[in-house]
């Protein structure tokens, strides 16, 4: 089937089998920043934003993106031009193995888009679906807090 949606700000038109998962569609199209950690909607490594909301892309069909907007880590920034969240997580030493980080970034972006000045509790709630085995979340939460400060300064 053909699915048309906005991906990281650009209109795309993908033709794939109707049972294709959003996660697989993204990775087949080369957007491998979105990771597969469980395929059971329990680890959060595959988190993307669908219409601004953090979702597990392993649990959604590509078809559910029809007419919507999808944001992935590739849309955030790059090594040469990182998003404040990407820079802040690195500067906070929150990126250990980094496998969960794209999903963490998208959950954090979904939060900061709604609430530019979140409490620590709000950050923990927003990240609760993103399992990280390396950090104990301490530096991830520091990083998101740093990024929020930086983004508020920029506005």
């Amino acid at each position: 089937m053909i699915v048309e949606f906005t991906l990281n700000g650009e209109a795309v038109r993908w033709e794939m089998p109707p049972d294709t998962k959003l996660l697989d569609a993204l990775r087949v199209q080369g957007l491998i920043g979105t990771k597969q950690g469980c395929r059971e909607a329990t680890c959060g490594a595959c988190t993307v934003l669908l219409n601004g909301r953090a979702v597990f892309s392993c649990a959604l069909l590509l078809a559910q993106a029809q007419g919507g907007t999808v944001e992935t880590v590739e849309g955030l920034g790059s090594v040469s031009d990182p998003h404040p969240l990407q820079r802040a997580l690195v500067d906070a030493s929150a990126v250990q193995c980094g496998f969960c980080i794209p999903g963490v970034l998208m959950s954090a972006k979904g939060l900061l888009d709604q609430d530019p000045n979140p409490s620590e509790g709000a950050i923990r709630r927003a990240l609760n679906g993103n399992l990280c085995r390396c950090t104990g979340y301490v530096k991830i939460i520091e990083g998101v807090t740093l990024a929020a400060e930086e983004m508020r300064r920029r506005v």
């Binding site: 491998i32 920043g33 979105t34 990771k35 597969q36 950690g37 469980c38 395929r39 059971e40 329990t42 680890c43 490594a45 992935t72 880590v73 590739e74 955030l76 920034g77 790059s78 090594v79 990182p82 990407q86 820079r87 997580l89 690195v90 500067d91 906070a92 030493s93 929150a94 990126v95 250990q96 193995c97 980094g98 496998f99 969960c100 980080i101 794209p102 970034l105 950050i123 923990r124 709630r125 990240l127 609760n128 679906g129 993103n130 399992l131 990280c132 085995r133 390396c134 950090t135 104990g136 979340y137 301490v138 530096k139 991830i140 939460i141």
Partner: protein, 771 residues
């Protein structure tokens, strides 16, 4: 010595690339037309395969290979991923004619898609003859128990006790002296048995391995491994290839914690690639990762200790029964580490250790962060509290009185090695006293302890003191290669295996410090068996200590070569030159930039490649030390234990990168809390794990984590690079005992078995109420 780079929290060299979501992990970048590899797994805990027929699977369109034990070399290996000869038994085959736990691989397929692979697995016909299954340590040792490893090939490659006909994977019995006399010399004797349970590492990236044949017909394996060189050697043995026919590439790895020391997928992928003549990738699914990869050895640890009325210990006998599951990976060494990573912590008088590791028809244990230290610290640190309670003294004060000091040794160091005798050691750096002091202040030990409160929710404070090691002495080796470019940058090639730990950054910092440059001048590559020099890999808390020392030595060689070139340019003696700020600086302020030195060396005069390789071996395993303190709330109505605050005060020598060192502490503590409270396997009566998913095997999430305070207590370890010791393993060991001790403080119930689930708490409260 004023340090410029070491001791600073520079930006992690791969941080931005990871945060940008680039193609860094195995599954992110695979050759075109890579096939999907899958394993058929045993539904039985113990069975013979009477017959197996893969022909229908092989005939399915889109299937390129289907393999049973008939189709692969029958060579016994260990998957343990250790140096050679391994201290683990050769008791595993790529595929075998017997299955020994629920999940043991029976057949392998490679197909165009995951759907075809799944369909192919369904077409494989297997006839099993079920055998009685052994589902406990005691059942394994019972008279007349079924023999799990009755294959004639099973053997131990080193001369140690191995008795598979009795389901004994390993046995050790050592003593420093007359232990009975020593224990009985005490005014009191305490005899306690403590049990710890199964758990899994749960890296968010499961084991993943892609393989293909290159244009020269060599087998290339791009794999999420902690041990690229051991993976190459073991895969070569399993497939009947020469080491030279295999190249192992380790890209970024999505967490390991020990489970990726296991060489699980590489021989399978190799066998499938050779059969299919096409690239193949196997990615474990979450249940396979949680239950069918490797786990922590569950153990029963008995400690019998004699002590005087003033608290001094006269002797300790530690007896360990360890369950290695169906295969003996790390069965010996995790068990011996129970003693060597705990007993030296206190002045104990005489010590004796007796350990038995048994095979069962249960999930396979292996290396897991903490490596015996986790299991035995639970026993040791609970028992210390019990002794303190019996004597009516403060458990913190008792530890402060008894702990090992700088300049002291322990008979346990020499008594217990890893497959051979241990190495005598004198502790040359110990910040434990300061860890105990600062940690106690941070948790408000004296203010909060012994005040459970009146309501249904009781509060408690508990603690544990810990030690580990840094590398395996007289066994481990690490190497680093550096070469200089004409812009003054350096390629640093390390066999050391960054699996998210930050070792690429730490090695770059050490080399940059020696060469007087910033980390930005270091281009780090790890690891590729074709390109990077040998390193045993990421295990045994060795990378910073040992690979870091190799980086330092290598950089010193390179610095000397730079000085030779610079000396000619500056017209001085090479010995008069030092490197600083990107320059070679000579007498009277004369200097030349490293970029100029690089350009001269490659293009202009007496051209040669400035570069070197150097190695380091360890002669000792200096222990890091830690003191952990925890505040818990125990809900006496629901049984729920909630950790409110956790303080980890840690002596890891000089932290090369303090923020990354803190991150190691924080991640370990989180994992330890999960182990103590929620992470466990739920078995059915047939030995099948029922909860192989993150919904039911609960690792801590962001909202689960308490306030976590990390205190780094600096010391300088004279044998470590810039004074460094290890940090990554020790801090997983504290949560179980510290929480158990805090639960005792809260509700007066002594728990000697992990985990501390609500049912356990309620049962214990019931038992207490009944008296």
């Amino acid at each position: 010595m004023s340090l410029k780079v070491v001791g600073t929290s520079v930006r992690k060299v791969d941080g931005l690339a990871l945060a940008a979501g680039g193609p860094l992990f195995v599954a992110d970048e695979i050759p075109r037309h890579t096939l999907v590899g899958r394993a058929l797994r045993s539904p039985h805990a113990h069975a013979e395969i009477v017959s197996i027929d893969v022909s229908a699977a092989r005939a399915l369109p889109g299937v390129y290979a289907a393999l049973s034990h008939h189709d692969v070399p029958r060579v016994a290996i260990t998957t343990a991923g250790q140096g050679a000869p391994e201290p683990s038994p050769y008791d595993t085959f790529i595929l075998d004619k017997k299955v020994r736990y629920v999940g043991d691989p029976v057949a392998l397929v490679a197909a165009e898609t995951a759907e075809i692979a799944a369909a192919a697995l369904k077409l494989i016909k297997v006839e099993y003859r079920p055998l009685p299954a052994i589902l406990s340590i005691d059942a394994a040792l019972a008279e007349g128990a079924p023999v799990i490893h009755d294959e004639p090939e099973a053997e131990m490659p080193i001369p140690v006790h191995y008795e598979p006909e009795k389901n004994i994977c390993a046995f050790v019995d050592v003593a420093s002296g007359d232990i009975e006399a020593a224990i009985n010399a005490g005014d009191h004797v305490i005899d306690g048995t403590y049990e710890v349970h199964y758990a899994q590492h749960a890296p968010i990236e499961p084991h993943t391995c892609a393989g293909w044949l290159d244009q020269y017909g060599r087998l290339v394996l791009r794999t999420s491994t902690q041990v690229p060189f051991h993976a190459r050697r073991i895969t070569a043995r399993a497939l009947g290839l020469n080491v030279r026919q295999i190249r192992v590439i380790k890209p970024r790895v999505g967490g390991g914690f020990g489970t990726k020391q296991e060489v699980l997928l590489e021989p399978w992928v190799g066998a499938l690639v050779l059969a299919a003549k096409r690239p193949v990738m196997i990615e474990l699914d979450r249940e396979e990762e949680l239950v069918f990869s490797r786990t922590r050895h569950p153990q029963r640890v008995r400690m019998r200790t004699g002590y005087l009325a003033d608290g001094a210990l006269t002797g300790t006998y530690m007896e360990v029964h360890s369950n290695t599951g169906a295969y003996g990976s790390h069965g010996l060494t995790v068990m011996t580490n129970c003693g060597s990573k705990t007993l030296p912590l206190y002045r104990r008088g005489e010590v004796a250790f007796r350990g038995t590791t048994v095979y069962t028809n249960m999930p396979v244990a292996g290396a897991y962060r903490g490596y015996g230290g986790t299991q035995a610290s639970f026993a040791q640190e609970c028992q210390m509290d019990e002794i303190a309670q019996h004597l009516g003294v403060d458990p913190l004060a008792l530890r402060q009185k008894l702990h090992i000091r700088q300049g002291e040794g322990s008979p346990a160091f020499a008594m217990l090695g890893e497959g051979k005798e241990g190495v005598e050691q004198i502790v040359q750096s110990c910040g434990l006293a300061e860890c105990l002091k600062q940690g106690a202040e941070a948790i408000d030990w004296y203010g909060k302890r012994g005040k459970p409160g009146d309501g249904p929710i009781k509060r408690g404070i508990g603690m544990a003191a810990l030690m580990q090691g840094s590398s395996i002495p007289e066994i481990d080796m690490a190497s680093v290669t550096l070469k200089m470019n004409e812009d003054g940058s350096f390629n640093l090639m390390a066999g050391a295996t960054d699996l998210g730990t930050g070792s690429d950054t730490v090695l770059a910092q050490i080399a940059a410090e020696v060469l007087g440059v910033s980390v930005n001048e270091m281009i780090v590559h790890s690891s590729d068996t074709d390109l990077t020099p040998f390193d045993v890999g990421a295990y045994a808390s060795s990378t910073t200590y040992l690979s870091g020392e190799a980086a330092r030595r290598c950089a010193l060689k390179v610095a000397a070569q730079i000085a030779e070139v610079a000396a000619v340019e500056l017209g001085c003696d090479a010995k008069a030159i030092h490197l600083e700020g990107g320059y070679a600086v000579g007498p009277e302020g004369r200097q030349i930039s490293l970029a100029r030195v690089g350009a001269i060396s490659l293009y202009e005069r007496n051209q040669h490649q400035i570069g070197a390789t150097d190695s380091a071996i360890s002669h000792s395993s200096p222990p890091p030390f830690a003191a952990h303190f925890v505040e818990v709330e125990v809900d006496t109505e629901t049984g729920l234990v909630k950790v409110k605050k956790y303080v980890a005060a840690v002596d890891c020598g000089r932290a090369i990168h303090p923020a990354l060192a803190e991150g190691q502490v924080e991640g370990s503590v989180a994992n330890g809390i999960g182990y103590a409270l929620t992470e466990r396997f739920i078995f059915n009566e047939w030995g099948k794990v029922q909860n192989g998913n993150f919904g039911d095997y609960r690792i801590p999430s962001a909202e689960d984590m308490p306030e976590l305070v990390t205190i780094l207590v600096p010391t300088v370890e004279p044998t470590g690079p810039y004074g460094a010791k290890s940090v990554s393993e020790i801090n997983i060991n504290g949560a179980c005992p510290a929480i158990a001790n805090a639960i005792y403080d809260a509700i007066g119930v002594r728990l000697r078995q992990t985990p501390f689930t609500p049912e356990v708490i309620l049962d214990a409260l019931d038992a207490k109420a009944r008296g």
